[in-house]
Symmetry: C2
Subunit: 466 residues, 2 copies
């Protein structure tokens, strides 16, 4: 039975088939509305309606003042493989490259010396807000802030948490000097020297550094580039080893951008309860997703086993040095450790940020920044498509980076040394594990605009690989 | 042989004898220049000359627009006694009162809820400088500062160190989130759980908290209320116990305000070399002295055994949360730990403070603030003289507090509970040791102006003691 479709739907189907058939490549610009009107003989209204429906389905994406582009939601690249099952727990000894990259204050920019981008309106508004808090400081410069941090900021954090399924109270938060410090406090309170900690592989290198610093052993649990830590592998490890804590980044994990499915999240918390495990949730990328913002693990933490860690560094400013931790059953000890190790945080800074959030500046900034990230990711995927090297890559819908797997003969640690001489800083795959795996992988960030210099740097990489 | 003295010298001798004879009490206002002219029949020039000479000798002090006052350099009170020889090292378990006082963000104010003082010109200038740094931030909000901290601030610290006998380089400093964090990093790098650390008794309670947190044992070395840690007692302890580190505050130590004499400083470093000891120098009060600024221990540290710790909290702002550490032979490990545990400090904040120092704002602020402290101390001594309780007290010439010994039957921890009900926060002596000693002592701060409310609070304390 054939039914006469409305015009917009007929056009929608035609365009969908063309996209799926590869007529326009992912990332490529669609014909303009006027061109489509001319080509198919439909009105402007009909064409717009069809395009909007395709956009709602995620097949195409509108970019301000540039028209519609074929979506990269489904990457043109095959995803990288998941690593094999874990070996035994081992002490951590991370390479000098870690510190080298951090010292270059790079990690997320191919050209950290560039720093030419103008601050976006959100940052200008944020800085005004901090300036105002400074001018209102009066006598409080003579007093330490309370150890948990400024009440107004913690109240804003609780409001934001509630939007992600977690009915938090301001008193459940402790302000820190960033997510790295939150992770440090969490690990220091939960673990004793020699304890075993499970992490994702590949996973955040800052955690590996912390494990080495605190003389903890690591067991690396394979993580899928799309769905995160492998729950079956974790369960098998828990049956064999006495694991004290598990550090996990369920939403847009670095380096892959993976998002853990709901059923895996529930299973993780069940395993935690069964094996008396502390779950340290690194949610620093949680709010970066452009299609959706997943609920936090903390939102389904019925047994107070999740220590929630985050900060403003990835989606607002790396120079604020403000993070937070909510420690579940370990919260009092974490608060005590924060007090003992640094007394307090800067009150005027917290007040400035709290006002910025309360006045809606943070929400607007996030909206704009997510669209930037989405466009910069799409652009990066397009540029990688031009690389004369066979590659697999993740297609994250949040976070600041994607994960590229190159042919096995390419050693990205060697590449790091070579590119450095050209002023380009890459993030080699071997940083994200202590196993020696991922030596042919790269994390490539899309946190910065693809101006000419960065585009050029990215395009020069393949020639340096061989 | 009698020599005819010049008139000003004759008057000087007469006045000196009157002061020493108790005609005017310490802290009491001297007759005005006009009164002295009338009384002794000398010219204004002669009287001024005599007064200036007495001031240079430290017997009297000029206060702006108020005339001359009998100096309190030599207190009217007998100094408190030094504690007895140390017992064996023991684990630390500090009372809940520590955290309670810190949470009240008090410790240095009898009435922390008051906070009515207007910010002094130095703070207004500092905040403008930070605001300027914020506005100039451009793209750097997207990058972490280098782990050691901002180069410009470290260069300013090196310049200030040079004024105190220590030819420091900018690269010898690592910026931290305050002196407490500097001490934390130092202890964490130098010591392993179970190690023994020597501290002053009475000494800074924050160090005792750190030792408990890091599961270190403490040996409390008696400290003289005027000359600091007893070197003979330290030497005897070193012969008996395996001591890993010694935390010491050689200049205007809290709670007493003691200054360690040069010969003791040299002896301390000799002992460190002989017994393979790390010296952790807490110099947070080093620049507060109103008559002189002692050289740091670090200035005579020929063997890189001194880990120098300080911050801006006591003499500029407690809300900056900027400190620094210079770790001698342990500096690389400290830098690594700072990187691992918090990545970086806030760059715009450091740049603002660096400009403030470079433009002379810090030096002017210090000059003014030291005079404030001196006057507030003198005023406090005057108020204590009116207490209807026999007491001994130190007479510091720097720092923010003095140390009062009350009759042995008075328990200042009980007093703490009582005064709290009246909204007054005192700092009981037992906080400054794990020995149970000093229960009849009090640290009383002169960091804040003696307005009517604070004066009233201080005057109400004796009635609550019995």
């Amino acid at each position: 039975m054939t039914v006469d479709l409305p015009k917009y739907q007929a056009l929608e189907n035609t365009l969908r088939k063309s996209i799926e058939g590869g007529r326009w490549r992912p990332g490529e610009r669609m014909p303009s509305i006027r061109e489509l009107c001319n080509r198919y003989g439909f009105s402007k209204i009909t064409v717009q309606h069809a395009l909007q429906r395709l956009e709602a389905q995620g097949l195409i994406q509108a970019r301000e003042r540039s028209g519609f582009f074929v979506s990269l939601g489904q990457s043109e690249f095959e995803p990288p493989r998941q690593a094999a099952m874990p070996a035994s727990p081992k002490p951590v000894s991370v390479s000098q490259v870690f510190q080298d990259i951090m010292t270059r204050s790079a990690a997320f920019d191919l050209l950290p010396d560039l720093q030419s981008d103008e601050p976006p309106p959100g940052i200008i508004q944020l800085n005004r807000s901090i300036g105002r808090a400074l001018r209102r400081q009066s006598a409080s410069f003579q007093y330490y802030d309370e150890p948990a941090g400024d009440q107004a900021l913690r109240a804003q954090l609780a409001l934001r948490a509630a939007k992600r399924g977690w009915k938090a109270e301001a008193d459940q938060f402790c302000i820190t000097a960033g997510c790295q410090q939150s992770l440090f406090l969490a690990l220091m309170v939960v673990c004793q020297s020699g304890d075993v900690v499970a992490v994702e592989a590949p996973g955040f290198y800052g955690v590996l550094q912390l494990l080495e610093q605190l003389e903890l052993k690591v067991i690396e649990i394979p993580a899928s580039p799309t769905s995160g830590m492998d729950m079956r592998a974790l369960e098998e490890s828990l049956q064999v080893w006495d694991i004290k804590a598990c550090v996990v980044s369920p939403s847009f994990a670095t380096p892959t951008g993976a998002v853990m499915p709901s059923e895996d999240r529930r299973r993780l918390l069940e395993l935690a309860e069964r094996h008396d495990l502390a779950i340290i949730e690194d949610d620093i990328y949680g709010e970066s997703g452009w299609f959706n913002t997943p609920d936090s693990l903390k939102a389904i933490d019925d047994h107070d086993r999740v220590i929630y860690c985050s900060s403003f560094s990835k989606i607002l400013s790396r120079d604020l040095r403000l993070g937070w931790v909510s420690g579940g059953r370990w919260h009092r000890s974490i608060l005590q450790l924060k007090l003992t190790s640094q007394l307090a945080s800067s009150r005027f800074l917290q007040q400035g940020v709290a006002s910025f959030i309360a006045e809606g500046g943070y929400a607007s900034h996030l909206r704009r920044y997510r669209q930037c990230l989405r466009q910069q990711r799409d652009h990066l995927v397009g540029l990688l498509g031009d690389w004369p090297v066979p590659l697999k890559a993740t297609a994250p819908q949040g976070g600041l980076a994607l994960w590229v797997e190159l042919p096995p003969e390419i050693d990205t640690l060697n590449l790091y040394a070579k590119t450095l001489k050209e002023g380009i800083v890459i993030t080699p795959g071997s940083l994200f594990s202590v196993s020696g795996k991922f030596s042919n992988c790269l994390r490539i960030s899309f946190a910065h605009p693809w101006n000419e210099a960065r585009t050029d740097a990215l395009q020069r990489l393949p020639a340096l690989m061989f």
